[in-house]
Amino acid sequence: MEREISHVLLGFILPCGKLCKNIILQDTKCNLCQGDSTFVKITTSEIEHVAHLTRLSFDPSGIESFSRQLNDILGYISKLEELDTSQVEPTTHALELTNAFRKDEVKPSLPVEKTLSNAPEQEGGGFVVPKII
């Protein structure tokens, strides 16, 4: 029987109703309960949503090949679920550096005309953008 399966984080709601994070990607079965969850893939509408968030647009044929590649990559990445990291602190910086403070003082900086020298459009010492409101 086909059941609607919601995609929760990297886990899968199995037919038994449990959230399973232990998947074997090849046959998309759960290691623990051997339930036959369907591997829910990133959908075209999700790709369109993420494309909007990242300010990109794709034509329909582009979206298709893109979703195949993204699914391959995300499928591979879900390998991390094999590891129990519940007791592990995350690393966001490779070295144990504390904040690098400096005095809050005015120093010479690039002149306005140099700062604007690469702008696609400029006027009166500022960047010109399309009308917003």
Binding site: L10, I73, Y76, L80, A94, K114, A119, P120, V129, I132
Partner: protein, 487 residues
């Protein structure tokens, strides 16, 4: 006398200070060489001939007065096009920065300038340093000087190919997941990724800020130490640069490995590793043993998770870093847009190539609402496990020895349609970046088809001196490579 382009940086320096050659002559020799071989390998995006000759004249004045002369004075170098060069276009091999002319120099460029080094031009790369083959350049691929049908590696493919082809005396690259070491290995040259925080990232166009480091690519280990000397050190303009005294790295070029223990991680010798690469790397380790080193087996159990971890962390950081390309402050702005949102989307869709789009999409997805814990946080936790593996291994050994890449250079186009396969080719180089430790690739032989193989050496944070000592001894044991590709 051998041709000027055949000499290493330290050999050229000897001739320059004796005034047997002038910096202008050396620079002209390299510009001629570029004219001769670059149409075949296409390592350069821009050759800055006039500026190079002006810098060489200035270097000659310094050499003549014997005033303020350093080992890099008058030495012609190539620079990866991800490093900002004042007044010289810096494109990151992307269409979105096609006309970007930085109004300032990266800190490494200021340092090289202060040393009187000469810049020959800007070198090709994968767009925004995202790739392992230099095929992702928006302009043209670069060819491996040892076999023009093959990739030079990436993302610093131009930096490695130009050194191997003797189209510069040395170069700078950048390494986020292996982008210095892997092309160095594929091109048969020396490439070092310093400890995170050793070299200022100010003016290095950001890809993944917690992983990026600039480093040297050179003909031999001595040149590597000289280049590292010139670019290392604290910079107040990069808050992640480490306030720490920089040693003279040439001091580590000493024969003998009597007190050294080398570790061989069993997780790096896996199915999928090319048998010829495995054999050559193991022979290299044996030759280090004959220099006095002790060899032990070590374990880095989380190695198999490194690629997955990296392909969350790096794209997540990239999606944030690359949001600055919005068609407002610099770079491309698309025409014919309806409103601001349309301008953003058209600009970015036209300006970025497919691999950059893939990565910023993955990054945005993994940071988006509901997915952050499962992806980014999870990956950051596994990053801790990978770092702990190294800490534990370095309790047993000084330097870890391993292959750089599972195979020698592959053919152009071979992996272009399968991004995941391309990502997996970085499996042995990525852990170093995640842990922030230094790594070096040193040539250790050619395979039966004449393609170079590199030995990777890894050490603890700020242990570059140990890496250079072991690398130098490998060079002594194998004899410096005098065979260069014929072009």
């Amino acid at each position: 006398m051998p041709s000027l382009i055949d000499l290493s940086i330290h050999e050229l320096h000897d001739l320059l200070i004796k005034r047997e050659v002038s910096a202008v002559e050396v620079t002209r020799a390299y510009l001629d060489r570029i004219g001769e071989v670059d149409p075949k390998i296409r390592a350069y995006l821009i050759v800055t001939a006039d500026q190079a000759l002006t810098q060489a004249e200035e270097a000659d004045r310094r050499l003549k007065k014997a005033d303020d002369v350093t080992p890099l004075t008058g030495i012609p170098l190539g620079i990866k096009d991800v490093i900002c060069t004042r007044g010289v276009r810096t494109t990151c091999a992307s269409k979105i920065l096609e006309n970007f002319v930085p109004p300032y120099n990266a800190t490494v460029m200021e340092r090289l300038e202060a040393h009187g080094a000469v810049m020959l031009g800007k070198l090709n790369m994968d767009e925004f340093a995202m790739g392992s083959s230099t095929e992702n350049s928006a302009y043209h691929p670069t060819h491996n000087p040892w076999d023009l049908e093959r990739i030079p590696g990436g993302s610093s493919g131009g930096s490695a190919a130009s050194v191997a082809a003797r189209a510069c005396a040395g170069s700078l690259g950048s390494d986020t997941g292996g982008s210095i070491r892997q092309p160095a290995s594929h091109c048969g040259v020396v490439g070092l990724k310093p400890t995170y925080g050793t070299v200022s990232r100010f003016g290095l166009v950001a890809f993944a800020s917690s992983l990026d480091q600039i480093g040297p690519i050179s003909r031999d280990v001595t040149d590597c130490a000289l280049l590292l000397n010139s670019i290392s050190g604290h910079d107040a303009r990069d808050s992640t640069s480490v306030p720490r005294d920089v040693p003279d790295y040439t001091g580590s070029l000493i024969p003998g490995l009597k007190n050294y223990t080398l570790g061989i991680p069993k997780e790096y010798f896996i199915p999928g590793l090319d048998p010829e690469v495995e054999k050559t790397v193991k022979q290299a380790v044996s030759s280090l043993e004959s220099q006095g080193a002790k060899v032990v087996e070590v374990s880095l159990p989380h190695t198999e998770y490194a690629v997955a971890t990296y392909y969350i962390v790096a794209p997540a950081e990239a999606s944030s870093n690359l949001s600055r390309y919005d068609g407002v402050k610099y770079g491309l702005r698309a025409s014919n847009y309806k409103n601001l949102m349309d301008m953003y989307k058209k600009t970015r869709s036209q300006g970025f190539g497919p691999e950059v789009k893939r990565r910023v999409m993955i990054g945005t997805y993994s940071l988006s609402a509901g997915y952050y814990d499962a992806y980014y946080k999870k990956a950051s936790q596994v990053r801790t496990l990978i770092t702990r593996d190294f800490k534990k291994a370095f309790e047993q050994c000084d330097v870890i020895t391993a292959p750089v890449a599972p195979t020698t250079a592959f053919k152009l186009g071979e992996k272009a349609d399968d991004p995941l396969q391309m990502y997996l080719s970085d499996i042995f180089t990525i852990p170093v970046n995640l842990a922030g430790i230094p790594g070096i690739s040193v040539p250790c032989g050619l395979n039966s088809s004449g393609l170079p193989i590199g030995l990777q050496l890894m050490a603890g944070h700020f242990e570059e001196t140990k890496l250079l000592t072991v690398a130098y001894n490998l060079e002594l044991a194998l004899g410096r490579c005098e065979k260069w590709p014929i072009l």
